[in-house]
């Protein structure tokens, strides 16, 4: 957060941005469902904050090493903990797996501290991570209040029971939160939207129908398609991007050529020293140089830097190679792997530098070309601004939505890679109470903070209106006008299944012009279209619901996107309704950017609003010229009054016959 909010154009120094218009989200209460809080952190001081909003009905619950009278304040207004559902499955003691844990809102893990301080932490100056990323750590809505609901427990990396999550929703709705932030997910395959095993879908439905925006992470199972989680249409689902910051390390070879890798290596540089690639001499000449299976000879490795290659993207290849090189007396490691910007320091601040296969191959050819290869590894440096461009993170889970592809997921992207924020002092990676972490967990509270700012500015906007404002105004080009790419193998231009509407643009979302609003009736439309039965829908909504005999189309759910998973030789018409939230007398005309080979028309072609006409419906008719099955093609429909550009993503897949396992 020492850079991410500036990257999103929310610098406190800029006088007219959303931060100032919303008074840093003052008066808004953000509920965080996570691993709890470390209340002594500087990120949760109450300095400069007014009284707790009078509508707040929440409480601070006591527990192990947590005294509400000492630890809650005008910043941390609520702290509850829910463990009964977890304990009933897991049993006591919670620290059986060797991790510290508190039976209280206190956060032993650090994940909850990270997410809460990213959404709403106070300003804390001169924060860095081992000297990297120095700046002011802060939340997006630094004057918003925080209510912590500890539902995840420090067992096996962090586990949360659906019974506890549902209870937290129940209490948070009662307490009066405005926004809920959940960096919690499930596993693929997903449970349906009305299956209580996914406590998040059910609980969030009740929250959203009471005006509480629920923000959830898309999950970290990318870059494969159809991995996105938390896909209910009432949830705001967040993908992770990088930002305009990198941690670069120079690799200078003995032939004076310099390559650049990425690392969090902050010790003194490794001066010119021997460089080694563990060649093998059997039928598989590369076997010895595989990072996760290094076969090293101490007499050859001692005092040298080792090069290895891996096709694994998970961190385990780097950590196991580090251990092997250290054990053999090596002084550094260069790992050639698929690009993945999420970095961690190696144990003991051992120099481990990541490069792509191209750079790795160049280094290998240099080693093979000389008798005494040498290398120098510089310590890492922080680079910000141009020319570093944002990308969708490798790990960020991708659409299409595996429950219903017509419901576009993820909705939006936000920075979630190498985010420096507060943590628990017990976090093994902590540096003076702050740490760099990556995940859609880290992207989610960025959106939660922005939602808090929007709520402060537009208290009457519904969760759907807020989602619409975010999606239709998001950046689909980088800050310098360049394209946004998505990490993967190979890297590609990002599309809506990577980042939804795009990377969030908070200032534009404050003034979207038009919104695609939804209320409970629209969600019932969705549930009927999904063939959930009348009695289940009735109980969910609290009102007797009879889905119409004539089948409703999920394509007509009033989302700020149009995704048509299957079009054949017959055209398809979908309906949307927009609400004017801009100047009352406005006229909007469409700009159509059709997907390749797709014909798109709009009716009416002019949307006229005045003081009495605030909502207008329009129809979009889509036809394909393709004669065969295709993948998804991408375009946009933009409504503009020449001031606002209300862009909705459009994606269409042609299916001339029954598909067979296409994404």
């Amino acid at each position: 957060t020492t850079r991410s909010w500036d990257y999103l154009s929310l610098s406190p120094q800029t006088p007219s941005n959303l931060l100032h218009k919303s008074n840093n989200g003052d008066g808004v209460i953000i509920g965080i469902f996570d691993t709890g809080i470390w209340p002594e952190s500087k990120s949760f001081t109450e300095n400069g904050l007014g009284p707790v909003p009078s509508r707040w009905k929440g409480v601070c619950e006591p527990g192990e090493s947590f005294d509400p009278t000492k630890h809650c304040n005008r910043k941390l207004v609520g702290a509850r903990w829910f463990v009964n559902g977890f304990l009933a499955e897991y049993g006591l003691p919670l620290n059986a797996s060797g991790e510290t844990e508190y039976l209280s809102p206190r956060d032993a893990n650090g994940h909850g501290m990270h997410t809460a301080s990213t959404a709403a932490g106070s300003f804390v100056g001169n924060v860095s991570y081992r000297g990297l990323a120095r700046g002011t750590a802060r939340g997006g809505a630094a004057s918003a209040r925080v209510a912590v609901y500890k539902v995840c427990w420090n067992v096996l990396g962090g586990q949360c029971a659906s019974a506890d999550i549902l209870k937290a929703f129940d209490e948070a709705i009662h307490d009066g939160v405005d926004v809920l932030s959940l960096s919690i997910g499930f596993w693929i395959p997903l449970y349906s939207d009305v299956d209580e095993r996914d406590g998040i879908a059910t609980g969030s439905f009740h929250a959203v129908t009471r005006g509480i925006t629920v923000v959830c992470g898309a999950g970290n199972d990318g870059p494969s398609a159809q991995t996105v989680q938390n896909t209910a249409p009432w949830i705001l689902t967040v993908a992770a991007s990088t930002m305009d910051r990198a941690f670069v390390t120079s690799i200078t070879l003995g032939n004076n050529k310099t390559l650049v890798g990425e690392a969090m290596f902050t010790r003194r540089e490794i001066g010119l020293t021997g460089l080694l690639y563990p060649e093998s001499h059997g039928l598989d000449p590369t076997a010895s140089g595989v990072c996760q299976a290094l076969q090293l000879n101490r007499t050859k490795v001692a005092g040298k830097v080792v090069l290895c290659f891996t096709s694994m993207t998970r961190r385990v290849a780097v950590t196991s190679a580090t251990a092997a090189v250290r054990k053999a007396g090596g002084v550094g490691l260069i790992v050639a792997k698929h690009p993945n910007s999420a970095l961690y320091p190696c144990p003991g601040d051992f120099p481990c530098v990541e490069v792509d296969y191209e750079a790795g191959t160049k280094i290998l050819y240099y080693i093979r070309s000389t008798r005494f290869p040498l290398v120098k590894l510089s310590s890492s440096k922080t680079v910000i601004g141009r020319p570093v461009s944002a990308k969708v993170a490798y790990f960020s889970a991708r659409g299409p939505n595996s429950i219903e592809p017509a419901i576009l997921k993820p909705d939006i992207a936000a920075p979630g890679v190498n985010i420096l924020a507060a943590t628990s002092p017990l976090d093994p990676f902590a540096d003076s109470g702050y740490v760099m972490h990556s995940g859609t967990s880290m992207a989610t509270p960025h959106i939660s903070g922005i939602v808090a700012l929007l709520k402060a500015l537009h208290p009457a906007w519904s969760p759907a209106a807020i989602k619409s404002a975010l999606v239709t105004t998001a950046w689909r080009n980088g800050r310098s006008g360049s394209l946004i790419f998505a990490e993967g193998s190979p890297q590609k231009q990002a599309d809506i299944f990577d980042y939804g509407g795009g990377i969030v643009n908070p200032n534009a979302a404050a003034d979207p012009g038009l919104v695609f609003d939804m209320e409970t009736a629209d969600y019932i439309h969705y549930l009927c279209a999904m063939h959930y039965n009348n009695s289940a829908i009735s109980r969910l909504t609290g009102n007797i619901t009879n889905c119409p005999v004539q089948k409703l189309s999920v394509l007509d759910v009033n989302l700020p996107s149009i995704t048509i998973p299957s079009i054949g030789s017959t055209s398809i018409t979908v309906t949307r309704t927009v609400t004017n939230v801009g100047p009352p007398n406005s006229t909007y005309r469409p700009i159509i950017e059709p997907p390749s080979g797709i014909v798109v028309s709009v009716n009416p072609e002019v949307l006229v609003f005045n003081s009495t006409v605030k909502k207008v419906s329009f129809k979009v008719t889509v036809a394909t010229t393709h004669q065969m099955n295709t993948g998804y093609m991408f375009g946009s429909l933009i409504w503009s009054d020449k001031v606002h550009f209300v862009r909705i993503p459009l994606s269409v897949r042609t299916e001339m016959f029954q598909p067979y396992g296409d994404e």
């Binding site: 996570d34 691993t35 829910f82 009964n84 559902g85 977890f86 009933a88 499955e89 893990n109 994940h111 995840c152 990396g157 962090g158 586990q159 949360c160 029971a161 659906s162 019974a163 506890d164 999550i165 549902l166 209870k167 929703f169 129940d170 209490e171 948070a172 709705i173 009662h174 960096s183 919690i184 997910g185 499930f186 596993w187 009305v194 299956d195 209580e196 095993r197 996914d198 406590g199 998040i200 059910t202 609980g203 009740h206 929250a207 009471r210 992470g217 999950g219 970290n220 995940g439 859609t440 967990s441 989610t444 009695s535 289940a536 009735s538 109980r539 969910l540 909504t541 609290g542 009102n543």
Partner: protein, 85 residues
């Protein structure tokens, strides 16, 4: 058949606004299956009573099946684990 696991008994939107009455109704519902209000209190893990209606309770598989057949019960589901992202 005698193993108790946490199940979520989901009753949908709450029918009135008195949380204590809602919790009482949850105990009554559970007591119908487990035999007494005392036993129901012992097995109750949570009463969901503000944002929606339902409860979490330790139930055997056969108790879970029986409670699912009672009028007003939308669904009975086993508790499950989520993970941090």
């Amino acid at each position: 058949g005698k193993t108790y696991n946490v199940h979520i008994v989901y009753l949908g939107e709450k029918q009135h606004d008195d949380p204590d009455l809602i919790t009482d109704s949850h105990h009554d519902l559970l007591a119908k299956i487990v035999g007494s209000k005392e036993k129901a209190s012992e097995l109750m893990v949570y009463s969901y009573r503000h944002g929606f209606s339902g409860f979490a309770a330790k139930l055997t598989e056969s108790q879970a099946q029986k409670i699912a057949e009672l009028p007003g019960v939308v669904r009975v589901m086993p508790n499950s684990l989520h993970r941090l992202q």
